[in-house]
């Protein structure tokens, strides 16, 4: 039972990585379909369309980031893996925001990206506006990332 702490902490890290990763995969996939469609008509838009396609990809990176910080803090990547159950649960809780918000925001951002790619196909000169609309969604992933980072870096110093 006393080893459950590390199990929960790693569960949290895995949750952050896979939830956010799934979201980004869905988002980038959706926008990729739209991007490929536009490119059949306008191959010259490749670089702009690629940027729009990649926008929902950042959540996966944020998930990876949290997973990595978490794993290095709990000692899975070398170090002392002795962790109390309470701390393990705290790490698990700290990983929840980026996992859950990453999943949903990446999917929604993917939808916004699809719409923006459609906009770009009709008005290639409006790239700035087309780009900023999906970026609005990402704010929430960043806020979740922020809470996850602050929480994880705070847990290390707690005497539990």
């Amino acid at each position: 039972m006393e080893n459950l702490g590390i199990a929960f902490a790693l569960l949290g890290a895995a949750f952050a990585a896979f939830m956010a990763g799934i979201g980004s995969a869905i988002g980038v996939g959706k926008s990729g379909e739209a991007a490929a469609g536009v490119l059949t008509e306008e191959p010259t838009l490749f670089s702009k369309v690629l940027i729009l396609q990649l926008l929902p990809g950042t959540q996966g990176i944020y998930g990876l980031l949290i997973a990595f910080v978490c794993m290095s803090q709990i000692g899975v990547l070398g170090g002392d893996p002795n962790l109390s159950l309470a701390k393990g649960l705290l790490y698990f809780a700290a990983c929840l925001p980026i996992g859950a918000v990453g999943l949903y925001s990446a999917i929604s951002q993917g939808k916004a990206s699809v719409a923006s790619i459609g906009l770009l196909a009709r008005r290639p000169d409006q790239f700035g506006k087309a780009m900023i609309i999906p970026v609005m969604v990402e704010t929430y992933a960043i806020l979740a990332l922020l809470i996850s980072i602050l929480a994880i870096s705070g847990i290390g110093g707690l005497a539990l």
Binding site: I51, L54, L55, G57, T58, I61, Y62, L64, L65, F68, V69, L77, Q126, F127, G128, K129, M131, I132, V135, M136, E138, T139, I142, L143, L145, L146, I149, L150, S153
Partner: protein, 671 residues
Amino acid sequence: MAVVPMQRVTVLALRKDRKGILEALQRTGAVDVLDLPVSGDLFEKASMPESRASFKRSVAAAEQALNILNDYCDKDTNLFSSFAGRKPLSVNEYEIFIDERAEMMQSAYRILSMDKRISEIRSEIVKKQGEQAALRPWLSLPVSTDFSGTASTACFIGSAQGEIPLYEIAAQVEEKSGEKGTGVDISVISSSKAQTCIFAVFLKKDEKLYTSVFAELAFSPLSIRTSVPPGELILQYDKDIQNLEEEIAKISKEIRTYAGVRNAMRFMIDYYTMRDEKYEVIGKLLQSPHAFVLTGYLPSGGEEVLRHALRNYEAYLQFDAPDEEEDTPVLLKNNRFAEPVESVVESYALPAKGEIDPTSATACFYYFLFGLMLSDAGYGALMVLACGGALLKFKNMERSMKKSLKMFLYCGISTTFWGLMFGSFFGDVIQVVSRTFFGHEVALKPIWFEPVKDPMRMLMFAFAVGIVHIFTGLALKLYSAVKHQDYGTALYDVGFWYLLLVGLLILLCQSSLFADISGMTITFPALVSTLAAAMSAIGAVGILFTGGRESKNPVKRLLKGAYALYGVTSYLSDVLSYSRLLALGLATGIIATVVNQMGSMMGGGIAGAIIFIIIFVVGHSINFSINLLGAYVHTNRLQFAEFFGKFYEGGGRKFNPFGIHTKYYRIREDQ
């Protein structure tokens, strides 16, 4: 740092000089021609849709020919061609090219027709291959497919679905034909899971009987009718396809001999684009039988250039200041530091009538915020090297390309600066390499502090940057209001807000909440606290009473004022939005650290070094490109949503002068 003032120019000249004057104007590229409505009987407009359509067709033909040549021939451009800019062409060369335009267009159409022939042949090959595939099951049929029998025999050639063995077919035929049948000779030509093909011979008098028997057994007669046996026909088709392929090779070879005309094609594209642009302007002129009038906008100070360009023609030029409410086109002019960010402002919106040009302020914050988000000295140095190198190597670069490279150059400098401040150079590569390969750790000490170790401090710094950014936005609103002598707006929409926000900020800094979060305790003298409380109270009351000042109804006015006061929450969320500075900065640093750590997992030694280099290059390329994209889009977002939201609406029309907007060549004025 400003919007260039515009003036209205009217050119009145004789119709015989129309071509010369328009070409001179096109070469100066200084006038945005207006499309004025016709008034009175004297003038009329002559739009020339047919000529313009024919120019567009020529452009399309030359473009297609160029694409075809690029498909068939070795590339004559490389990855860096887009940096090189348009080739200069002297007026003499230009005129020589023009004289040859008939031949050039002939080559273009010849290339197009050859390409068309190739696609026709290709579809013919596909058709033949399809027929071959249909005939393949009948390969061993000894007669032609339209064989109908001899003098006394008839035959049935057909197939049924599924694999049916011969004895089964024979038994079924016998059963169906009963006693009337005089015998039939069935041979299976081929059989597979999909179908069984048979050839049956019987006496002519039984033809009706056996045909209906086979129909009953679900055999359908072969629909391909040829006078040659299938085996021979397949061979014949093979030969045909080979011939067709040879023809394709011959035509491709001929197309390849045209490789040298690619530059001519590019010239044709440019030439007809220019003519189309000229004819578009002709459509906007007011013309009488002997004279014409051109009206347009010209940036102030351009009079001399225009007079000089038209010095050889009898033309009357008049310059007027535009009316107050006239919708003049917008041209931005900024110093070399701010100029690159003009395109960012433009991608949001150009300043509307009377608005100030936000480029300079935007530029300062743009470089600052971008550097703060990427914040790695190694990545910054890469940007500086790449952009600086390209700028030095390709002097002839297009203006827009030059602007974006300069923007990223400045952003790179800022990134390097912040990287050094936070002690990040490709993450912690110096520490990792020195530890893994040289045994003792050398650390790159941050000049300021390491955000990974002290994220709260970085968060406070990010909020402070946000407050400065937002207050600058308010200050620009104040500046704009004072400039227009709109002191009401200056006081009500800016002054009161400043009072409220500054007051609240001071109160917040002293609160225990702030002390808990930031770990800093700030205490002001009691007088300052009282003053802050008074300031925020005055601000809040002021906003409550003036926020809805355009409404006449006093109740409505107060309600609107209360709603305006509620807007203070939006300032809170705006400031919180700057937390992305911390999140993105940490993302760059931590992922870079992950890459370095993965690279060093194999330990020291030569094998370890090789693995390290591979992981380093791949990992950092990915991290660099993703975070470059992130820094770019989020800097834009902070500018557009948080900063511009405070003072800037935009909506101006871009100054779009009549000029030479070519893709490949730049006509150089020798004289």
